[in-house]
């Protein structure tokens, strides 16, 4: 039995962060794992920072991932991954979508957005490894921008560290959406999965 595996998904309102954690949680229950998790939407209707934690294993009690105990950080947006850097340790993996979403405060001149190099340098220093992919582009390749989160889910499973079976998560994704979307989602998942496998080779 797995003791503790913590996934933190970070992103921006509207990117499907919560949906991803729901899919992970449902799949985990199917695989008879103990699941805990929690999300923060803040006051965000749309556009604010969103994080969602999914914790798996027998030693997991609280809904939040303790500082430095994240096993895999899924960054749907680079600066939002950086915002959660203290959840990482040298045994954490980061799966990072390199597509940037600039908040409205930047054109207003109230804040600035860091360079991708800066973000990667910081994350690389904190984590065991950072796996980068342009999930937004891969989602387009799969046939719909809306599958960006499914691409990232595929990449997360491509690490081959999760205690959930690949078949279970794929089945959960399939059940969640109308049947006609299944081919697009499968393609998106596989593209993410393969990109991650290649990166880890």
């Amino acid at each position: 039995m797995i003791k503790e595996f913590n996934v933190l998904i970070t992103g921006v309102g509207g990117q499907g962060v919560i949906l991803m954690s729901e899919l992970l949680g449902e799949a985990a229950v199917k695989d008879r794992l103990k699941v805990r998790g929690s999300e923060i939407l803040g006051m965000a209707v749309r556009g604010g920072s969103v994080t969602s934690a999914i914790r798996l294993g027998e030693d997991v009690y609280g809904p939040l991932i303790p500082t430095s105990k994240c096993s895999a950080l899924v960054g749907m947006e680079p600066s939002e991954a950086l915002r959660n850097i203290t959840c990482l340790s040298k045994s954490s993996l980061v799966i990072l979508n390199t597509a940037v979403t600039v908040p409205f405060t930047v054109p207003l001149g109230q804040s600035s957005y860091p360079s991708l190099e800066e973000i990667l340098e910081k994350l690389n220093k904190a984590a065991e490894r950072v796996i980068q992919l342009d999930a937004t582009k891969l989602a387009q390749e799969a046939g719909s921008l809306l599958t960006t989160n499914v691409v990232m889910l595929g990449a997360l499973f491509g690490t081959e560290r999760l205690p959930i079976k690949v078949a279970t998560i794929k089945e959960t994704v399939e059940e969640r959406f109308p049947a006609k979307l299944a081919p697009v989602n499968t393609k998106a998942f596989d593209l993410g999965y393969e990109t991650c496998r290649q990166a880890l080779k």
Partner: protein, 634 residues
Amino acid sequence: MKELTITSDAPGKRLFVLGNEAIARGAIEAGVQVAAAYPGTPSSEITETLSSVAKELGIYVEWSTNEKVAFEVALAASICGVRAMASMKHVGVNVAHDPLMTANYIGAKGGFVLLSADDPWAWSSQNEQDNRYIALQAYMPILEPSSVQEAKDMMADAFKLSEQFRQLFMLRSVTRIGHARSDLVLGEISREKRQGKFVKNRDWLVYTPREARINKPLMLERFDAIKKAADSLPYNQLKPARGAKLGIIGCGLCYSYSIEALKWLGIEDKVSMLKIGTPHPLPEQLVIELLKSVKEVLITEEIDPFVELHVKAIAGEHNIPVKIHGKDLLPRVGELSTRTVTEALIKLTGAKSPVDFAKLDKLAEETAPLLPWRPPALCPGCSHRASFYAIKTASKKVARDIGKDVEAIYPGDIGCYALGYNPPLEAVDTTICMGGSFGIANGLSHVVNAPIVAHLGDSTFFHAGIPPLINAVYNKANITMVVLDNSATAMTGFQPHPGTGHTAMGDETVQLKPEDIARACGVKFVEVVDPFDLKAAAKTIEAAIRFDGPAVVVSRRLCTMIAQREKRKRKEPIIPYFVDQDKCSGKCNACIELLGCPAIIKEDGKTVIDQALCTGCGICAQVCPYKAIIEVSQ
């Protein structure tokens, strides 16, 4: 196999749920027959879940006009012997406080549960009050869950306990229970259906001084019986560790953080643990047993030192020489976490830290300046943005006429539109409570000489906006009251309200209009505007401000989230706008600096509109001095 859902009568089966769904499930298992609520984060999903299955299960569910009414609806059901619940966020309980303080003089006939959703760190609230104090004041026993599973189990039990002890119970949830996710083992669903029966009984139900004096002693007796039973309730458990010098009293969710902290430090065999599921009344014998067995105790609880206060009193009363820690080592503001409890335990035991927390704090400090500020924003196409622009344009004009140093004042309220305080709109000067905008505006009008333009949303208007509106008429407050009517309780998830024309259970009903109510209340200036016509809206608001006496403007435009959803359903295209780069100066930035719409961005020094975000509301085209913003179809 039939798909497992929140209403499946499948004891022992496991489901992945949100905490608030688990709470709803607990009520379903108990056979709740009446559920009333007013939406508020983090409580709304409880009633949403119940309303979605109400007809299937034969439960009466309503979104009440406000929490006081919700409480009274549930109380009436209880008086008639039917199991009932009222759910609300912590500050909602303030609104229900009046009936709440007399309700336990009556006590429960049908089981009654008040669900109070507290919000440590005020993630989506105006304060982080600890509602255990309200329960204390009302002689209301509290159940406080340590996990989502326990929240469901406690909810199912609470109705039975309430009937057994004939007292109203509170279930205190927090954000990390209601908005936590977990696997959940289902229990059996009660199929009992009761017919409500009202028994006339003056001594019991008519509260004049005489009945208060009759019933208070009875309430105290009932509460004493619960106090005696607290030690044997399964939610309170003492797990002593042999030879332990330190004990933890873990309250509600903080029990979970405490267990994780002990495991992280590897000292779970060396510390005694008292898990508390009933912070009020405390299981006194278990507390005494723990206090006598150790030298020091750490109490872990969220928000105020509520249990700490009572444990210190017990130690004092029984002369137990034990050092009691709590808020001296743990934060009084915000949520607790495995980390904060771990750090407190390191201080008390000298255990080796599993992580270099100082190094991580330094990392966070170094990283902070790199991060862009990403506050939540009004959506692209939000009608409130247009309303605020119109309000400010009109108010500034009138203020200038009064005097050159005069600034208009914008009392605001609770809802999405609170986001209007962000730059560049900066159209919110106060946010205190539901309906507070109109109330504060009343007071301001008697002490300052400036245009006072208060605003609140449609749901908030029905909730708490009408009494201060009547007050303005009666007491001649010269104020402008704008109802930002987007026909939705948008911030909490689009729940229906008296202005939407349908009920929680999906039935059609009358549709009340704020303008009709304002006229009926005697307001002499009442106008309705479309905020997307900026010029006309500003002109009407200006007339309202110049009007001598209270004035009401209803600024009506459907919430963009709903409007887009409906358009997609009808397969209607959403036509965005774009910036004609030949006409745009690129430097004036009026669209960005006046509106702050997330869809207008800068790319390589050029002002552009994000075609994926733009909803085609067109207000930026109205403010552009170069007429450079054009609808895509043109």
